[in-house]
Symmetry: C2
Subunit: 283 residues, 2 copies
C-alpha cells in the first residue's frame, strides 16, 4: 500500500512559473463571445500581441492554424506566425527561435497529443517556449491535445464506462510545462473521471485536473488556478493521506483510491496550488 | 453559499440498522460464481433461508422473478415467495405480511425505480419490511432499480456527458431504508459521476454512493459498508467544509462543489459511516 507524503509536492507546486498558462478543455467558443480566446489575446498584450500558433497536434495543421490566425487577426493582434512544424528538424529553425524573442503568446491547438509531443518535445524551439514561460515573458495556451501535453505525465488516450483500472488509461510523457499536474480535457463531456482517477492511482504525487469543453484552468504566477468559461474544472487532489492498491493488483483489476479531496470549480472560482484549497466565487 | 455542518449527519448515520442491507449496482453475476447473490443467500440463512423476491420494478415481473427464483432454489433455499405486486392494494394482502414474519431475506430486482416506489412505498408490506430490517430480522438486497430506492432522496433518472448541473439529474423520493445516502448504480459503467455530484449539490447532507455493476455495498449493522464484487464503490462525502453554488445558479448552469472527500473502494474494502473513513484491504 502506497502511503504518500505530499508535503514536498505542495511546496514544489507553484515553482517559478511567472506566466499565465491557459489550459483549455477543448471546443472553446470560436464564434460568439470567444471569452477564452479573447482572454488569451488580452493577456498576450491585446493589440500589441505577437502570437505564435502551434498547430502540430493536428493532421490538418494549415486549416486549423488558419482558423486561429483569422480569429486573432480579427481581434487585432500585431503579428501572428503559424509554426507549422511537420518534422522535428523544423524545431531547430533559427527564424522561429528569433520570433520567440519578441513573441508574447503561444497557442497550441487540438489534435493528437502524441503527435504534438513527437514533433516538438525537447526541440530548441520548445525549450525556448518553456524558458519564456518560466521568465514570465509569454502567455502559453493549449486546447484539447494542446492542454493534455502540459504535465510531465500525459494522458495519451483511454476509455470510459469501466471501474477505474490501470488499463483504462494510456500514459506517455508530456511537455512538462506544469510538471506536477495530470491534465484531462473534454472532461465531463466525454465522461473521463474514471480514466483520470486511473492515472492518479499510478501517479499520486500529481494533482489531477479535468477540464470541460469551453472551459479554461488558468495557472497564474501567484500559484492560483482561476477558472473561466462555460463548464467546470475538476480537481482530484490525492492529498496527504492518500493510499491505493495500485501496486498490488493486475492491469485490468479495479483500483482502490482512498482519501482523496475533490473540487468541482466553475467560472470565477480559484484554487490555491500551495495550500490545495478552493476559493469560491460566492463566499 | 451553503456551508454545512455534517456533525449531526455523522452521528445519525448508522441509525439503528441491525440487518445487512445489500445495495447492488446491477448486472450482478447470475451464472458463474454468483458471489453477490450467494452472499445474500448465505446471510439470509443459507439452506434455512426463506426468501421474498420483489420484482415490481420490472415490467416483466414474472420473468425476472422466475429467474431469481430458479437461482435461489438451486442454492437450496427453504422457501421462496414471489411478491408479484401489480397494484398498490396488493401491498395490503395479509398473506404476504404473514410471510414477512418468517421471511429471512428480501430481494428487490431491477427495472424502473419510480415504478417500484409507486407500487410499494408506504404500503403495509413495505412498512413490515422496513421494521424487520430495523430489528435485524431480515437481510434486504436490491439491485439496480432495487438499489436506487434505498435512500430517502432517490435518483430517478438523468444524463451524462455534461458538467454537473441540476438538470442533469431527476430526483424523487425513495423507500428511505438508508435515508442518509443517495445511491447511484451501473456507476462507472454508465458514467454517472456527474449526475451523482449534481444530486449531492442539492442534498449535501447526504452521502453519495455510486456502485458499479456486479458490485455490492453491504451496509452492516456495525455502521460499516463492506464492498464485495468485481467493480468499485465510489463514495462522495461532502464533509464538514463542503460548499456549493447550487442555490445561486440556474438549473442548467454548471455547479461548483468545494472540499469533498472521495473514495474509490474495491472488494474487501470497508468504509466506516460514523467516522467517514475508509479501511483499505491492503493496509
Amino acid at each position: 500500500m502506497l502511503q504518500l507524503d505530499t508535503q514536498s509536492l505542495q511546496q514544489k507546486m507553484p515553482q517559478t512559473l511567472k506566466s499565465t498558462v491557459m489550459v483549455i478543455g477543448g471546443a472553446e467558443d470560436k464564434v460568439h463571445g470567444r471569452e477564452i480566446l479573447h482572454t488569451f489575446f488580452t493577456r498576450a498584450g491585446g493589440s500589441e500581441a505577437k502570437i505564435a500558433i502551434v498547430p502540430c497536434a493536428s493532421r490538418e495543421p494549415s486549416a486549423i492554424g488558419d482558423r486561429y490566425n483569422k480569429i486573432f487577426t480579427e481581434m487585432g493582434a500585431t503579428s501572428i506566425e503559424l509554426l507549422d512544424i511537420r518534422e522535428r528538424t523544423q524545431g531547430e529553425d533559427p527564424k522561429w527561435q528569433e520570433y520567440m524573442e519578441e513573441c508574447t503568446g503561444v497557442f497550441m491547438t487540438g489534435g493528437d497529443q502524441l503527435r504534438l509531443c513527437a514533433l516538438v518535445a525537447d526541440t530548441p524551439l520548445m525549450e525556448k517556449v518553456r524558458m519564456k514561460v518560466r521568465e514570465g515573458k509569454i502567455v502559453l495556451a493549449g486546447t484539447s491535445a494542446g492542454a493534455a501535453v502540459m504535465g510531465h505525465h500525459m494522458i495519451a488516450g483511454g476509455g470510459s464506462g469501466e471501474s477505474p483500472n490501470r488499463s483504462l488509461v494510456d500514459m506517455a510523457t508530456g511537455l512538462g510545462i506544469l510538471p506536477d499536474v495530470i491534465v484531462d480535457q473534454h472532461f465531463h463531456n466525454r465522461n473521463r473521471m474514471a480514466r483520470l482517477l486511473s492515472a492518479i492511482a499510478s501517479h499520486p504525487d500529481r494533482l489531477g485536473i479535468g477540464i470541460d469543453e469551453d472551459t479554461c484552468a488558468m495557472f497564474q504566477g501567484d500559484g492560483v488556478i482561476e477558472v473561466i468559461g462555460k463548464g467546470t474544472v475538476t480537481i482530484v487532489d490525492p492529498g496527504s493521506t492518500f493510499a491505493t492498491n495500485e501496486q498490488q493488483v493486475g492491469a485490468t483489476d479495479p483500483l482502490s483510491l482512498y482519501n482523496m479531496r475533490l473540487h468541482i470549480l466553475c467560472h470565477g472560482d480559484r484554487f490555491e496550488l500551495r495550500q490545495r484549497i478552493s476559493r469560491p466565487t460566492h463566499p
